[in-house]
Structures are given as C-alpha cells and as structure tokens.
C-alpha cells in the first residue's frame, strides 16, 4: 500500500507539472491543445540531451528549451495569427510525432538494442523521510517531486495574491479591461503559453529520463491530454489541479501495479489502462458547475 501511494505521488508529478502549466495558460484564455506534442518533444529532447551529454541536468534543460520552442510556434499561430486553438493543436501534435521519430532516427540511426540512460534516482530527505507512513510516501521521491511541492502553492499564490495573477486572470475574463489598463493582452497570453511550454517540457522529460530511462514515440500516450483534463476538472484552480492529479496518479499507479502482477482473470489489464480516461469522462459528467474562463479559446481582436 505504501508502495502504491508513493507511486501515486511519483506518477502524479509530471501530470501536475502539465496541469499547472495548463491552468496558468488557460486563465489567460489560451487552451494549450499542443500539450501532448509539448510533452512528447520534452521527452525526446530530454532523452537526447541526457544521453549525449551524460548529464540528466542537461537533459532537463534541453527539454525545457524544446517545450518552449513548440509552445512559441503554437502561441504565434493562435495568439498573433488568431487561428483556431483546437485545430492548431492537433496539427502541431501530429507534426511533433513525425519530427521526434524522424530526428531520433537521424541522431541514433537504428540501434540494435534500445538506448537507455540511468533515470533520476529518489533522494530521501533526512529526518522527514523517517516519519512513519508519510515519510516514505512523500519524502522519498525524485527532485522533480520536491520542485512541484514548491511550485504548486507558489502558482496558487501567484494567481490569486499578486498583481501578475490578477492580470493573467483578467486576460481570460475581460481582455478589453486589461488592454485599457495599458497592458498588452497578446503578450500576457504569449508569455503564459511559453511558461506552459517550459513546464510541459519538464513533464515530458520525466517520462523519458525521470522514469523509464529510454525514449519511444508512444511514451506519452495521451498523458498530455490527461494533464489537459485535470485542468478542466480542477476548475482552472491550482488547488483543484492537485486533487485531480492525485486521483489520476493513483489510477496510473494501479495500472502499473496490475501490469506488474500479470493478468488477473477478473479484471483485464486494459480496464486499468483505460481507467484514467474513463475517470475523466465520469468526472466531466458528474461535475455540475464549472468556472470556465469567459474568453477561453477566443482570440483577442482589438477594435480598429
């Protein structure tokens, strides 16, 4: 049971990175539908950087840069050229799948055995990790998890207690007012999308160099969309995102656990693999009230 909960926290980490990124960007009115592509590009760049340099640090930095690049393409098309967010996201995601597998081939050729790096190891925090029950669950994790412990409350504080947060939220609710106040709406949106790109890149790299230690083109397998879903279900609020992430992280931990013990006759493996997706559908149906940002998905057009 402790293993399962500890795995929940671990598998939840990248989801929360993605979900927080999505919360911040969507608050300005920008759905980051390229999130799946950003995750994949991050996983790819993280692996390439980590493998070639031998340093996971370099891997994560390249993942951030790669996420930033994808996000800037997406942001440019959707914010400055005012094209449709869903359609643009689908196009970019498809392009990234092709790009990642093509460039992997360019760099590594066709390796006979899959290339691997040593993934992140867990760092037990002295004293805290010795607390019974909670210690091994919360404080024997990788560095990324500790970063997210700080980032989650920080993003809540930023969104609700600072003037930056007010600007971000207003850009999605009433962009005209932000404009009148002399703040460039497009720039606010673009910057949050870039931030989402960096965070999404890290989240993607978790799967390649933080967990598996290798790269395949189906490594993300819809996790970007799950982060996207968590943002919706968490009601565009970092608090909700944390709760949603724990639920999805638990579902994923169960799926991994079930696969490791082999097929059971009663519940097929596929049921557990599909569980997070079924959960999303059930939750969207069961939640009654949403506080959707008023201008979510709507490009900002200035009069004149």
């Amino acid at each position: 049971m402790i293993n399962l909960l500890s795995a929940t926290i671990m598998m939840g980490t990248p989801l929360l990175f993605g979900a927080l990124a999505e919360v911040i960007a969507e608050r300005t009115g920008m759905m980051v539908t390229a999130i799946e592509g950003i995750f994949l590009m991050g996983a790819w760049a993280g692996f390439v950087g980590g493998y070639l340099s031998g340093s996971l640090m370099v891997g994560f930095l390249s993942a951030m840069l790669a996420g930033l690049l994808v996000a800037s393409l997406y942001g440019w098309i959707c914010i400055y050229l005012k094209q449709h967010q869903v359609v643009t996201g689908v196009a970019i995601n498809l392009l990234i799948v092709g790009l990642c597998s093509f460039l992997y081939r360019v760099i590594f050729g066709v390796p006979i055995t899959p290339l691997t790096v040593n993934p992140l190891t867990t760092i037990p925090i002295p004293l805290l990790s010795e607390i019974p029950l909670l210690g091994p669950i919360l404080f024997n994790q990788t560095i990324l998890t500790y970063i997210i412990y700080v980032l989650a409350p920080l993003s809540y504080f930023m969104l609700y207690k600072t003037s930056i947060g007010l600007t971000i939220r207003s850009a999605g609710e009433n962009p005209e007012a932000v404009d009148v106040a002399g703040i460039n709406v497009l720039k606010v949106r673009f910057l949050t999308v870039l931030l989402a790109g960096v965070m999404g890149g890290v989240a993607g790299a978790f799967y390649s160099i933080g967990f598996l230690g290798m790269f395949t083109t189906n490594i993300i397998g819809g996790r970007g969309w799950i982060a996207f879903a968590i943002c919706f279900l968490g009601n565009w609020n970092p608090k909700g995102a944390v709760i949603g992430t724990l639920a999805f992280g638990f579902a994923e931990a169960i799926a991994i656990y079930m696969q490791s013990i082999g097929n059971s006759a009663l519940f097929p493996n596929e049921l557990f693999i599909a569980l997070p997706y079924i959960m999303t559908i059930v939750l969207t149906v069961s939640r009654k009230s949403f506080s959707v940002p008023a201008k979510l998905g709507v490009p900002y057009l200035k009069e004149n």
Partner: protein, 354 residues
C-alpha cells in the same frame, strides 16, 4: 466570391508545396538528396497501376474520418475522437464478419456488417453528444478520452475473443474471401469502399446544404442561442450530429477491415483521426473539397511509404509530411483573411475617393 475561391486555391496549393518542401529539407539531415528522393517517388507512383490505385485506397478511410470532423464542425462542435470511432467500427466489422461469414451469403454479411458499424460507431459517437447535451460536458475533451477507451476495447478483444486461432499475435483470423469488399479494378487493391466514400461525401453535402436537418445543424453552429430562440432543439441536434459523425468514422473501420486488411490487426492506422482533421481544414469543411483533399493525403501516404522503403529513409516521413502540410494549411487561413481584409480596405478607399 471569385477572388475568394482564387485565394483559397492558390494559398492551399502553396501550403501543400511548402509542407512537402519542408519535409524534403529534413531529408538533408540524413544526407539524402530530397530532389532525388522526390523524383524516384513520383516516377514510382505513376509507373505502375497498383501503386497509383493505392492512393485512392488510402484516401477511402480518410474521407470518412474527415467527414466525421467536418460534420460536427458545422454545428460548432469538435469531434476529435474519430480515431476511436474508427476503432469501434473496425472491431465490429471484424467480429460481425467472422461470426456471420459461414452462416450467410457474402453480400448479405457485408450489408449487415456495414449497418452494424454505422450503428456501433454512431452510438459510440452519440455518447459524446449525449453528455454534451445532458451534462454540458466539454465534447472536445470527452471525444479525445473516448479514443483511448476505444483503443483499450480493441486491444482487449484482440487478446481474447477475437484473437486468431493460432493465439500467437494480437490479431484476428483472416476473413473469408466471400466477405471481402469487391475490387473495382482487377490487379489493384482498389475496392468498392472508395465509391462508398465518395457517395458519403456527396450525401453529407446534400444533407448539410439541401435539407432542413442540415440547415438546423448549421444554424446551431452559427449561433446556438439564436437557433434555440427560433425553436430548434440544439441538444437533440448535438446527439444527432455526433451520431452521424461517429457513424461516418465507424464505416472507415468497415472499409479498412473488409476492403483492405481482410483481418483486424492491433494498432493499425493510428493516424486516421488526426489526418482526417487535417483534410477537413484543408477542404475548409466542404464535403466535396474533402474528396480531393483526402486523395492528396492518400498520395502523401503512398509516397511516404515508398520513400520509407528507399534505403535509409524512415517511414516517419509520412507523419512529418502530413504535419508540415497541416501547419502550413493553418497558416494559409491567416494569409487568406489578410488578403480578404486588404481587398475590403481597398474597396472602401476607392469608395471614399469617389
């Protein structure tokens, strides 16, 4: 109107050329000459009829998934779950054919299977419309998630009741030749499903532009609130639009299983849904335009496969070409709006000058 159509053709052709050129430049990374690769490509596509006909074989399912996206798009709904509806259709087509092929005559099995895939894919899609209408769920998110559930269902059935008798790989037994879709041109893989797809495109065009139902769907898409005011039941239309959309994508499963693969293999055609969206936006959502746009994407697929067989070029060049073309097509939308605005501006300036 004339100028608009001209813009549409020129910018789209430009987008396609740029997309192909961009992926050609990627070949330089592999030390391949893109001009060389493309000339080999063109000659081998045109050289033999089998390869040429394959373009239309590949275009067939793409027309269905593109229609699936375009149809709900007209109601301002986003069905990005065509991939899942296709998988459901494929599972039903394989299961139905295998079950009935020894009991009933082939032509009857084909008709029954087609109807089953329409109902199955349709219901799978209608579920998305239902939760949208009943619970105001986000249809974009639910349709996306339903794809992964459909994938799990396909994998499960291929591991259990649909698995081949040898029980070696996750695939079904081959279908009996009596339940294959008849070939149109002997010696090629081109089957009657292509005709079905073209008819579906024409049918959807008539449905959208020449019937009251189509008018209502477009009215809801244009302004749901106003449509409700004028007595159109938007919620009912959401469900119906998603049923038709899902049914169209489901039929793609039928034409692929009974027309091309003659069996169901795990994880086949994983990019039909995304490519369908690309085709729909290339065609500007017009069902007749989808016929041509799908043939173009079919050509990209066949071309990419041939290039993938050349030494040293990976088959991911197909996704690369599709992705680049899609991104450039989206950019062409921007260019068209820009051209249109400039024209309006000039018109106004002329009017003022007078």
């Amino acid at each position: 109107m004339q100028a608009k159509l001209r813009d549409l053709l020129i910018t789209n052709i430009l987008a396609i050329v740029l997309g192909i050129a961009a992926s050609g430049l990627m070949l330089l990374f592999l030390g391949k000459n893109p001009l060389n690769a493309y000339s080999v490509l063109i000659t081998s596509v045109v050289r033999d009829g089998y390869t040429f006909a394959d373009i239309f074989v590949k275009a067939t399912p793409l027309m269905f998934t593109a229609l699936a996206f375009a149809f709900t798009y007209k109601a301002n709904l986003y069905n990005i779950g065509a991939q899942g509806q296709f998988y459901i259709g494929a599972v039903i087509a394989a299961a139905g054919s295998l079950l009935l092929q020894n009991i009933l005559p082939g032509w009857l099995v084909l008709i029954i299977t087609l109807l089953l895939t329409i109902v199955g894919g349709g219901l799978w899609g209608a579920f998305v419309g239902f939760v949208k209408a009943r619970y105001n769920s986000n249809e974009f998110l639910v349709s996306m998630m339903s794809t992964y559930v459909a994938l799990a269902i396909m994998n499960y059935s291929l591991r259990t009741f649909l698995m081949e008798t040898k029980a070696e790989y996750p695939q079904t037994d081959a279908l009996a030749a009596s339940v294959w879709l008849p070939r149109i041109i002997p010696g090629t893989r081109l089957h009657i499903g292509f005709v079905l797809a073209v008819l579906a495109c024409v049918g959807v065009w008539i449905l959208l532009y020449k019937t009251t139902l189509g008018y209502r769907i477009r009215a809801v898409g244009y302004n749901a609130g106003a449509a409700e005011m004028s007595g159109i039941n938007a919620k009912k239309l959401y469900i119906l639009a998603f049923f038709i959309s899902g049914a169209l994508a489901g039929v793609a499963g039928f034409t692929e299983v009974n027309g091309v693969q003659h069996m169901l293999v795990q994880g086949f055609n994983p990019d039909l849904g995304a490519a369908g969206i690309g085709i729909a936006i290339l065609a500007n959502g017009n069902p007749i335009g989808i016929i041509f746009a799908a043939i173009l994407f079919g050509a990209l697929k066949v071309g990419g496969t041939i290039m993938g067989q050349m030494s040293g070029i990976p088959s991911s060049i197909i996704e690369l070409m599709q992705g680049f073309v899609m991104v450039f097509v989206i950019l062409s939308y921007f260019v068209r709006t820009w051209l249109e605005n400039n024209r309006e501006k000039r018109k106004l300036q002329r009017a003022v000058a007078k």
